[in-house]
């Protein structure tokens, strides 16, 4: 019961975030029939920009600590900044090729994505938090290229915490060294012995070079546009538990107590996400501008004949999608404070799964994307839960697999998605 509830809480939280991101994909597809691959990169920028705002702006205007409006302010600023980015993306990258074949737009989208990823990587990075524990000249390669000979004694606690950096002596100051992981077992290695590393050292690499073994500590500081900062998102929301229950069960090993708690932070995340989801539904289905958006998505040419300024509606769609992406990025960073670099697989997967949510729900369909987001989260979380229940110990490593299996099944059974209608080709 405890595990079930815990899974449910995570599924709802993640689902609301997937839904927020999926909406951006689906709205842009709706109006332009374009898969905006750059969308997931806007999520990343949203997370990192909100962190930048939280660290550098809030203290300057005298806001400290976890007051609800500190978080609210960061959220709004991140949404505005990313909205502007979304606007710029559409105007600079997509508008000039509006009339071109769809494939051109698709390639452009991939280009924009790569640009944002690399731009983000330059602006926002984790500064490796490492300490040199051993160093020396690299010996001429011996029998096994997958080892290096140690010049001084080093003790390894866990291979995951260490890395080997290889420096060319002739390389300029500050040049990026080659990095290898240590694969030797934990223990003390004396000078003169070989230590196994991942990938090995080529013959060319060993000439006139030295090595350093560094210990990498958790909690890397971050480099942001205005300077460096300690690791992770600062605390913006109160994390006090609002509901707590300890489940007690009798097992063969004795009494087992499992506490389940819902924190104020969980409620804040889900509450914010759901408020935005509902807000968007109202905007799209109950306002003049929303009606115009749906008209543009149905037929751009005829929409213009109604007096609808199509370009402005398309821009607005991008701005809305990007703002929602920013909100999702922010909420994600608030929940998982150990933020990853812009090009990290965590972000790629987050964006990809949200895209799957949009496709599963029926791309172009707003309600579909919302439902798809929750569906994806439930499949991945409860897939792992069910696996564990039947004794599959490794099930939680397969969450991504469940999601993509669902995608394959949906594409086979109902390629247009749950809410999708048959594609209407314009003549």
């Amino acid at each position: 019961m405890a595990d079930f509830l815990q899974t449910l809480i995570i599924a709802i939280t993640l689902g609301s975030l997937y839904a927020l991101i999926a909406l951006g994909y689906t709205m842009v597809y709706g109006v332009l029939k374009l898969i905006n691959f750059a969308h997931s990169d806007v999520v990343v920028l949203g997370a990192w920009l909100s962190m930048t705002v939280a660290v550098f702006l809030l203290p300057r205007i005298g806001v400290t600590g976890a007051t609800w409006w500190a978080g609210g302010l960061v959220l709004i600023l991140a949404m505005l900044l990313c909205g502007a980015i979304g606007f710029a993306i559409e105007r600079l990258a997509y508008k000039p090729i509006r009339g071109a074949p769809r494939l051109n737009a698709l390639i452009t989208a991939i280009g924009v994505s790569l640009f944002l990823q690399n731009f983000g990587q330059l602006q926002f990075t984790l500064i490796p938090n490492e300490r040199v524990v051993a160093s020396g000249a690299l010996q001429e390669r011996g029998q096994d290229p997958r080892t290096i000979r140690l010049a001084e004694t080093v003790s390894i606690e866990s291979e995951q915490k260490y890395a080997v950096r290889l420096f060319k002596n002739s390389a300029p100051e500050g040049a990026t060294p080659q990095t290898r992981n240590i694969v030797a077992a934990a223990g003390t290695y004396e000078a003169g012995r070989d230590i196994a590393i991942d990938g090995g050292v080529g013959r060319a690499d060993t000439r006139d070079a030295r090595y350093e073994i560094v210990r990498i500590a958790a909690g890397a500081p971050l480099k942001l546009p205005f300077g460096a900062m300690p690791a992770g998102m600062p605390v913006l929301f109160n994390d006090r538990p609002v509901w707590e229950h300890v489940f007690v069960s009798e097992t063969e090993h004795g009494r087992l107590e499992k506490p389940v708690r819902i924190t104020l932070l969980d409620l804040t995340i889900v509450g914010t996400a759901v408020a935005l989801l509902v807000g968007l539904q109202i905007l799209v289905f109950n306002t003049r501008v929303g009606t115009a958006m749906r008209a543009v998505s149905y037929n751009m040419e005829t929409a213009a004949l109604m007096g609808i300024p199509v370009d402005r509606i398309v821009s607005m769609t991008f701005v809305l999608g990007a703002a929602l992406a920013a909100a999702a990025g922010f909420l994600f960073a608030v929940k998982y404070t150990q933020i990853q670099q812009p090009a990290h697989a965590t972000w790629v997967l987050l964006g990809l799964k949200a895209f799957v949510a949009a496709v599963v729900g029926g791309i172009g369909n707003i309600r579909g994307a919302t439902l798809g987001g929750f569906l994806i989260a439930f499949i991945e979380q409860f897939g792992a839960y069910a696996g564990l229940q039947v004794g599959w110990a490794n099930a939680s490593a397969y969450t991504d697999v469940f999601v993509f299996v669902l995608l394959i099944v949906v594409l086979l059974v109902k390629p247009t998605g749950i809410f999708g209608t048959t594609v209407r080709e314009k003549v």
């Binding site: 008209a295 149905y298 004949l305 109604m306």
Partner: protein, 235 residues
Amino acid sequence: MLLNVTNLDVSYGAVKALHGLSLEVDEGEIVTLIGCNGAGKSTTLRAVSGMLRPRGGSIAFEGQNVTGIASHKLVERGLSHVPEGRGIFANLTVAENLALGAYARKDRQSLADDHERALVLFPRVKERLKQLAGTLSGGEQQMLAIARALLARPKLLLLDEPSLGLAPQLVQLIFSIIREINKQGTTILLVEQNAHMALAVANRAYVLQSGEIIKSGPAKQLLDDPDVKRAYLGA
């Protein structure tokens, strides 16, 4: 002169659709363009309403040059276009479709009156306001398209093949409505395959062939023209 089209050239890629087409529409008239498939009738309307950018020539509306102006801005100026195939938003309700017709309008007050007036002309549309527009029959969709265009309060209404695919009875009804709309003060430029009906309802007519105007004159006169009779009236 409400609409003045001079020496209009339009091409689709390398294919010339209109060459040197000129026509004019005076206030209060019903003017019709007749001709075969591919003669350039729809192209003319699409160029006038800003959906196509002409290669050459000029379009003046109310004496002002509007060549190359975007469609949505022309609607504000009083030029509405009911496109071929009706251009109904099937994913929206009938009421939402009507609301979009008035999208560019700022005078909320008189809009309500126009709404009433438009729906008096089309009682069948009024019965179905909450329905999805895609569920309407072809005739009802055509009526919705015209009602929607009227809500923009156009000075000039462009109608592209309003009778296309409709039962003869409905064609009669649509044409009587067109006459009524004109009587209430809206100028109409009508494109039709059904030359008989078009000439019967119009004041003046132009005959298009291969992107050029080959004949023009009062509609009554063209009804009796032997060439027109042979080519377009099937007599």
